[in-house]
Point group: C2
């Protein structure tokens, strides 16, 4: 998706500092943090939101969930909130699937 | 887990009305709703939280994520928030992995 900011970030076009990267996901800090720690786990594949998932995406979704405790451990966090917004009404701001991981002084969201 | 309320619910010991059930998950309404719609997707397997996942749980996690848009569709919802709390500090109240799906007039959480 040429005009998708998260595709550009995932493709390395934005010089984003990745906290983690593999074949299917990238992880980086949210630029508008709503907690002391606020990172995003983002699929490299352009999927607009959870309602756009196909059956073939099950393994990718499992991997994205598994990334959450792995990143928390890496960052020394043992309690955190995961949020996935689907649709603008829920607070989704970028139409490319991403999991928020937040910890410490959480502020209202969406 | 004998003393786990979500294990009892998943085992059918609590006469809970399931919105959905299959071999690995059950879905039911949160008894203290924090939005117009507030349902829980709960694994039948007792996993205390995301930080207790094993590699073998990847498919289950993928399935739980896939359940979210499927349930939203079933309920006629096209915008929703998914929350997974990990650890008491984040607002986790039951030590058995569950995904919250919320939609409509979301109230503060945790």
């Amino acid at each position: 998706m040429d005009d998708c900011i998260f595709c550009k970030i995932a493709n390395g076009e934005m010089d984003t500092q990745f906290l983690y990267e593999d074949e299917t996901v990238v992880v980086f800090n949210d630029i508008q943090p709503k907690a002391d720690t606020h990172i995003l786990v983002v699929s490299k594949k352009h999927i607009p939101s959870l309602i756009h998932l196909n059956d073939e995406d099950t393994t990718l979704m499992g991997h994205m969930v598994q990334m959450l405790p792995k990143m928390a451990s890496k960052l020394g966090i043992n309690s955190f909130r995961t949020i996935v917004n689907t649709g603008a009404e829920s607070g989704q701001e970028v139409d490319h699937l991403h999991f928020h991981l937040l910890s410490g002084n959480l502020r209202p969201f969406g």
